[in-house]
């Protein structure tokens, strides 16, 4: 069996006295595509943000290649290995598309400009945004912004990519372009953890599905196990509601 690249153990997170995550356990192996589904407010974003240490967990462990990142002295260098794509894109408004991709390469990975540019253009082409290198984020559509954000994350050549509802802020006609980019990444064997409300997409793209409810993982398994024959009553109710809408 392959070693886990990310392993979450007994993770807890409270905001004040509101316990948002209660004893979360799951692991991800290289090449895994893990979808996290669940009702609004169940703690999916919080979990993802804890993995990237944008939130500090209250207790528990997050192992990256078997080392607890909560004890790590160098959090930025860990973050550089674990990319994140946000619901609201979070592109740097003061930079154009190319600069958005290059800045991490030149300033964090310390690549020289030439190399950084080549890498950035490579990934911008991959997401179909090559013609827009000179555009500023505010001049792009939502779907285009999200594709740039994906290229920016990819350019860092992370080991794991985290997506927090990458299509939730998009108009329906733009959802497809972003999902197809993520699907192509899955085919290439990228390790990804994706929080999504797109059930059909989750079923197609992932090999592990995690269902969260009220800060706990109620059920996890293959897409067939979760979507075809869910064991937990709450999972069934959640999925029924989703399929009906």
């Amino acid at each position: 069996m392959k070693k886990s690249i990310i392993e979450v153990k007994h993770l807890k997170k409270s905001f004040g006295n509101h316990e948002v995550l209660k004893d979360i356990n799951f692991s991800v192996k290289p090449g895994d595509v893990t979808s996290i589904i669940g009702a609004s407010g169940s703690g999916k974003s919080t979990l993802l943000r804890c993995i990237n240490l944008l939130e500090t967990p209250t207790s528990g462990e997050i192992l990256y290649n078997n080392e607890d990142v909560l004890l790590s002295k160098n959090i930025p260098s860990y973050r550089a290995k674990v990319g994140m794509v946000f619901q609201n894109f979070n592109l740097f408004e003061n930079m154009n598309v190319l600069q958005n991709c290059m800045i991490g390469l030149t300033k964090v990975l310390k690549l020289d400009k030439e190399k950084a540019k080549k890498e950035s253009l490579f990934f911008l082409e991959k997401v179909g945004m090559l013609p827009y290198v000179n555009a500023k984020p505010r001049q792009l559509s939502g779907g285009q912004k999200q594709r740039v954000a994906i290229a920016r994350a990819l350019a860092m050549r992370p080991d794991v990519l985290l997506f927090d509802e990458p299509t939730s802020a998009l108009d329906p006609q733009m959802v497809g372009e972003v999902l197809s980019v993520i699907k192509s990444l899955a085919k290439e064997g990228f390790t990804m953890i994706i929080v999504t409300h797109e059930m059909a997409f989750a079923r197609d793209v992932s090999n592990q599905v995690v269902f969260m409810s009220d800060g706990v993982i109620l059920e996890k398994g293959t897409p067939e196990e979760i979507f075809v024959s869910p064991r937990n009553e709450k999972t069934r109710i959640f999925l029924d509601r989703f399929m009906n809408y």
């Binding site: 290289p30 894109f89 979070n90 740097f92 154009n96 964090v108 253009l121 860092m156």
Partner: protein, 271 residues
């Protein structure tokens, strides 16, 4: 030489006789205001950035204590210099430094110093506000690609804050041009000082001050127009051009996507 009877005549008379020294005074005003604004902005950016730095529970106790201490000192600086008139500050610093520390500043140093720290105190608050107005998403985006706090500030937050507070910087420059007149109390020969001398010489207070009004107005109007242009520049072009692959001199064959193994090898080379 006798004073002409008509108002216009007297103005021409003053310009002919004192035009040069008034221009020199205006030059002094301009230089002090410019230096003071630029230095003040630098001070403001440093102070405001420190003030906007959150104290992180995870930092070492020493770092937290140090940061808290520095913040308190800077708070006092801002409050003192925003809360007292610049004229009083000028007297206090100029004569105080001589009496207490036996430092005899020359006029220029004293003038630039006073305007700079005064502007710095105002700018600190403006910069702090500017930083807080940048959405958290920008910071998170930067941290997510591995930038540290300093890099996040330098490359992402401050450039955007700077753009937002450009109008305030312009405001400060205009205010400084006008307010350097209070430095005449410590004997700085700027425009207002010259005007006082000129109006005293022939009892032409109204005429001399008319000329001075016009000169101040000219300086402030020209500079505010100039600042507008700089603001526009900072905003960048309205449009972008779609690039084709050749304008980028990009050949897709140059870089192939490496397999997992190669990717790992690369990482070792990189570090």
């Amino acid at each position: 030489m006798s004073l002409p009877q008509s108002f216009i005549g007297r103005i021409i008379f003053i310009i002919e006789k004192y035009g040069m020294s008034m221009l020199k005074g205006a030059g002094t005003t301009l230089v002090i205001a410019l230096i003071g604004t630029i230095a003040g902005c630098i001070i403001g950016f440093i102070v405001g950035t420190i003030q906007a730095t959150p104290i992180n529970k995870k930092d070492s106790i020493l770092k937290r204590i140090l940061l808290r201490f520095v913040k308190i000192v800077l708070d006092i600086y801002v409050e003192v210099f925003r809360g007292t008139p610049m004229m009083v500050q000028a007297m206090f610093i100029f004569y105080g430094s001589a009496v207490l520390f036996n430092i005899h500043m020359d006029m220029w140093t004293a003038a630039c110093f006073i305007v700079s720290i005064n502007t710095g105190a105002y700018m600190a608050e403006t910069v702090r506000g500017g930083i807080l107005s940048i959405p958290d998403g920008q910071t998170e985006g930067a941290m997510a690609i591995g930038m540290n706090h300093f890099q996040t500030m330098l490359y992402v937050v401050l450039p955007q804050a700077l753009k937002n507070i450009m109008p305030q910087i312009g405001n400060n420059l205009i205010i400084n041009i006008k307010d350097t007149c209070v430095l005449s109390v410590i004997g700085v020969v700027e425009l207002f000082f010259v005007t006082k001398t000129v109006s005293g010489a022939y009892y032409t207070v109204f005429e001399a001050n008319t000329i001075t009004m016009a000169m101040y107005l000219f300086m402030t109007v020209v500079l505010s127009k100039l600042l507008r242009i700089i603001e526009k520049k900072l905003n960048g072009p309205e449009n972008y051009s779609l690039s084709t692959t050749d304008t980028l001199a990009y050949t897709s064959g140059l870089l192939k996507y490496p397999s997992k193994e190669e990717q790992h090898e690369k990482e070792y080379n990189r570090s």
